[in-house]
């Protein structure tokens, strides 16, 4: 939209930080506030900042909806794997390992499902941003 150097500078700094924070929020989701949905919204907000700073032309070349479709495939696939192993649909497994330095580590296959949610939220929001933003042009 408008060509403000201040905005651009701020965006250059803030967007990477936001992405890192969103990843952090994503991975802490299983034990602390956070999770795929919130992290996805956050990274979409970062995307919106980028669009405001650098304009929409370059972003519009991307097919953002593909990200959400990939996310849906990831989620469905996560649910299907237990089905193939003879368990019921979406029956998640938890791996628990004791690692010397880091202590007990929990890892749930639900994380993959959450990755799907993350991608879908991000992809869908970006699609809507980009498409609505192009309406004026």
């Amino acid at each position: 939209m408008n060509n403000s150097p201040i905005l651009r500078t701020v965006v250059r700094v803030v967007v990477p930080i936001t992405i890192i924070v969103s990843l952090r929020i994503f991975f802490q989701g299983h034990s602390q506030p956070g999770g795929g949905f919130v992290a996805g919204v956050l990274v979409a907000a970062a995307g919106a900042m980028y669009l405001l700073g650098f304009g929409i032309e370059r972003a519009a070349r991307w097919a953002w909806w593909k990200i959400s479709v990939v996310g849906l495939l990831v989620s469905v696939f996560t649910g299907t794997v237990p089905l193939l192993l003879g368990r019921s649909f979406m029956d998640h497994a938890v791996w628990q390992r004791h690692v010397p330095v880091m202590g007990d580590i929990h890892f749930s296959s639900a994380t993959f499902f959450d990755v799907g949610v993350y991608l879908i939220v991000f992809g869908t929001l970006m699609t809507i941003f980009v498409e609505l933003g192009q309406e004026g042009h």
């Binding site: 989701g29 998640h92 749930s108 879908i120 869908t124 609505l132």
Partner: protein, 838 residues
């Protein structure tokens, strides 16, 4: 041996599933997918779970049914590369299926006479299993399907022209898939499995009828066929559900063999509705009056498809279904009256209309309708012992005739009987084949058609059902003789019209058919004649009884009339006499038929019904989807209010149960609430859209602050992010919205809107309040329960997230799917609109 290979393949699959099965059996968990293989539990009275030491017989069953689907997918993939050669895949898969069925049948007859059963727990919670069972009637049907499939596959090699290779691949894929689903219908032992295969045949037949999709006629014919058969299939499924509700099982062999269950079903009030619904399914598929009109319209399909689907197999599925249901529904008082009425009427009407048809395939289609009506009537007369005989007879001669007509059409590019003639010298082999099949259709000795007709007349003369009403009996016999006479006349019209007489213009420069085209009908004709002549031996008679759906069948089949066959013989002579009269006086009969043209065609009626549905849908949509946002919101919100009030009154919730009082509220929360009220009022009274948007954002962030006061960081985080993003949305939307104009509403409308808004607000308030009331807090400690489960069951401390991704993952699944669809819709709508503007 191909079969040995199949068995080996299945052994491998079985190995792969063994681990999971053992897990299931050991841990006693409800299994989503477990394989339970067993020998016939009915016949041997036991099921062996996890015992793998039985014979491999039942593993052939799923190979027969599912291998075609695998081949179909393969054909779809490689069809682009191999084009016309894909036909060999059809031939290969049908030969395999035929060999498998034949092997099962011989094994069964020679060895233990136990029907092999394959069981696979498909949806165990719903009592739906992937049961396959190979009883003789099913095997007979499977052999018929696979056998004709071989011939149709070979025929297609010569018939389907050189089109784009991808299209030919799709054609064969649909044809092979159709064969697989027909085999599934024949061998399914579960009502729902049968239904699934049933609908797959409807869909593949839609694809096949619409092969020449450039033609509007083909598209319409395909659509009509799909509408009628798929709707009938749905009615049939409803009937199956009723049967399952009344008896508690969907397994056909149990329903058919256990008298206690049949008594239970007959005593149930669902009995008659179930019967009628199943009949609708059978009548639509088998093109019985009044659903018959789709079949002649489906003749726009390529001729191999017409032969396979609309003469030999698919349309017989309805008849087959009635045969399967005979032991289950036989006690109904409506069984015989409905089947005899519909069957007899269809029998006559089909033959009558066939005679006035000029299109060759149309003639054959209408005689097919007629023959199907005949078999329906036989079931109505409780004479199931001759069903296999009649079905085989019809498939043999009608298959041959269709293939012959296909050759004629291929060579002359017309199907109009008035433009054809004198082809006997141009294509002598085809003439002989047509003569053999036509004489069989006419019911002349020594062909199989004669035997079938004699058996029918013998049954009519000595039938138990008709015995009590002599007038009715003679009416039925008279109608049957007349209908058979019409079919006789149609046969001669076909033979004489196409092959005899002077050579027509169209027939002048025809080419001789290639071997692919004439070998299949020749094989079929040879089989037909051989079976007809061999019926002098007792073996054929035994075979006919063995293959019928009636276990204790004792139909008497004989080529040579004996003393007790005198009655049928006289009736046959009458038939032939009247048939010759009709044929000789065809001009007069045609004029008489034209006098009755004022009856509306069922096709017209159906089109009117569809127009009516469209008209209703348009009116309805125009009224409800009028484009006013206010109208939509009123509807949705009022529904919500009504539902909430219903829920509150149903559960008898009252304010006494709410433990919270205002005095416990912290002052900060109170202040926030006051601010909230102020911002909300600002939203309503704002004069500009931007002002309203800012006030709305403020409302959102104030709500977030309330979550701070009540210490719920999870929701707080979500709320803040959502608010930020939705603010961006609102700004983006505002950018392109027209300037803000308040609608001038009438005072009454304003009051109504206010009323709705207040009702929604109050309901929401009460609802949230009750969510914290005593019954929810005390009966179950939901929060504690979730927290402990989240940690011990799913290894997470954030219960909210664990609920989203684990406990209620399937709900989330639905939600994210909606999200993706919304994103795609926005993309599609806005892109299209932009493109249209350019």
């Amino acid at each position: 041996m191909v079969d040995a290979l199949l068995v080996h393949l299945f052994g491998l699959v079985q190995e792969a599933f063994r681990d999971c099965l053992l897990q299931v059996v050991v841990s006693h968990k409800p299994a989503g997918w477990g394989v339970i293989l067993r020998t016939s539990c009915l016949d041997r009275g036991q099921s062996t779970i996890g015992g793998w030491s039985m014979s491999h017989l039942e593993h052939v069953l799923p190979a027969i049914v599912f291998l075609p689907f695998v081949v179909a997918i393969f054909t779809l993939l490689v069809g682009r590369l191999i084009g016309r050669q894909a036909g060999w895949l059809m031939v290969l898969s049908s030969v395999t299926a035929f060999a498998g069925s034949l092997w099962l049948f011989i094994h069964q007859q020679v060895q233990d006479r136990v029907a092999p059963v394959f069981t696979f727990a498909w949806l165990p919670d719903l009592n739906i299993h992937l049961n396959l069972r190979a009883d003789p009637f099913g095997l007979f049907f499977a052999m018929l399907i696979a056998g004709i499939g071989v011939l149709v596959g070979i025929y297609s090699l010569g018939y389907i022209p050189r089109l784009a290779t991808g299209r030919i691949g799709r054609y064969y894929a649909a044809l092979i898939g159709f064969m697989g689903s027909m085999l599934g219908i024949a061998l399914a032992d579960d009502l729902f499995l049968l239904f699934v295969f049933w609908e797959v045949t409807s869909i593949t037949s839609f694809l096949l009828i619409g092969f020449w999709y450039e033609q509007g006629k083909a598209r319409k014919g395909a659509l009509t066929a799909l509408q009628i058969t798929a709707l009938g299939g749905l009615a049939m499924m409803a009937g199956f559900v009723l049967v399952g509700e009344a008896t508690g099982t969907y397994q056909i062999s149990i329903l058919a063999s256990q008298e206690a269950l049949q008594q239970q079903l007959a005593a149930s009030p669902l009995f008659t509705p179930a019967l009628l619904l199943v009949f609708v399914g059978a009548f639509t598929k088998s093109a019985q009056v009044p659903f018959h009109f789709w079949l002649p319209n489906a003749m726009v399909a390529p001729t191999p498809v017409s032969t396979y689907l609309h003469a030999a197999t698919m349309v017989k599925a309805g008849v087959f279904l009635v045969g399967r249901m005979l032991p289950i529904f036989n006690q109904s008082a409506y069984w015989s009256p409905i089947l005899i009425t519909v069957g007899l009427f269809t029998f006559f009407l089909g033959a009558y209309q066939a005679f006035r048809e000029n299109d060759l395939k149309g003639m054959l289609a209408r005689t097919t309708i007629s023959s199907l009506g005949l078999v329906m009537m036989i079931y109505g007369l409780n004479a199931a012992s001759q069903d296999a005989l009649q079905i085989f007879n019809h498939a043999a001669y009608k298959g041959t005739l269709f293939l012959v007509v296909g050759i004629v059409e291929h060579a002359t590019h017309t199907r109009d009987i008035r433009k054809l003639g004198g082809l006997r010298k141009k294509m002598p082999i085809v003439f002989v084949l047509c003569l053999l099949a036509g004489l069989s259709m006419a019911g002349l000795p020594p062909f199989f058609g004669f035997i079938a007709k004699e058996t029918l007349y013998a049954e009519l003369l000595h039938n138990d059902v008709l015995h009590n009403w002599p007038y009715l009996q003679w009416f039925v016999i008279g109608t049957c003789v007349l209908a058979n006479a019409f079919i006789f006349a149609v046969s001669f019209r076909l033979i004489c019209g196409v092959f005899l007489g002077p050579l027509s213009d169209k027939a002048r420069d025809v080419h001789t058919p290639c071997a692919f085209l004439w070998i299949p009908p020749a094989v079929l004709a040879v089989v037909m004649v051989a079976v007809g002549i061999s019926s002098a031996w007792p073996l054929t008679q035994n075979l006919v009884n063995m293959l019928s759906s009636d276990v204790h069948a004792e139909a008497r089949v004989s080529l040579f009339p004996s003393a007790d066959h005198l009655g049928p013989l006289i009736l046959s002579c009458c038939t032939i006499g009247i048939g010759i009269l009709i044929f000789k006086a065809r001009e007069v009969v045609g004029q008489i038929q034209r006098q009755f043209d004022f009856f509306p065609e069922m096709q017209t009626v159906w089109d009117e019904v569809l127009n009516g549905v469209t008209w209703f849908a348009e009116c309805f949509t125009r009224y409800w989807q009028n484009g006013s946002m206010r109208w939509y919101f009123s509807g949705i919100l009022l529904f919500f209010v009504g539902l909430s009030i219903l829920a509150i009154s149903y559960f008898r919730l009252s304010f006494d149960l709410v433990p919270i009082s205002l005095s416990q509220m912290p002052w900060s929360g109170f202040g926030l609430c006051i601010l909230l009220v102020i911002t909300v009022v600002t939203v309503v009274v704002a004069r500009t859209r931007l002002g309203a948007a800012i006030a709305l954002t403020a409302t959102g962030f104030l709500v977030a602050l309330i979550f701070v006061v009540y210490r719920s960081p999870d929701i707080l985080l979500t709320q803040i992010l959502i608010e930020s993003v939705s603010t961006i949305f609102i700004l983006l939307i505002l950018f392109y919205m027209p300037s803000f104009k308040k609608d001038r509403l009438r005072p009454a409308q304003k009051m109504l809107n206010l009323g709705i808004s207040c009702a929604v607000g109050v309901t929401m308030f009460i609802f949230v309040l009750f969510a914290t009331s005593l019954p929810f807090r005390e009966t179950k400690n939901l929060a504690g329960e979730y927290l402990s489960r989240a940690f011990h069951g799913a290894g997470g401390q954030n219960a909210v997230n664990v609920i989203i991704v684990d406990f209620r993952a399937v709900d989330t699944m639905g939600e994210i799917t909606v999200l993706v669809v919304v994103g795609l819709c926005v993309f599609g709508l806005l892109r299209t609109r932009r493109r249209m503007r350019l």
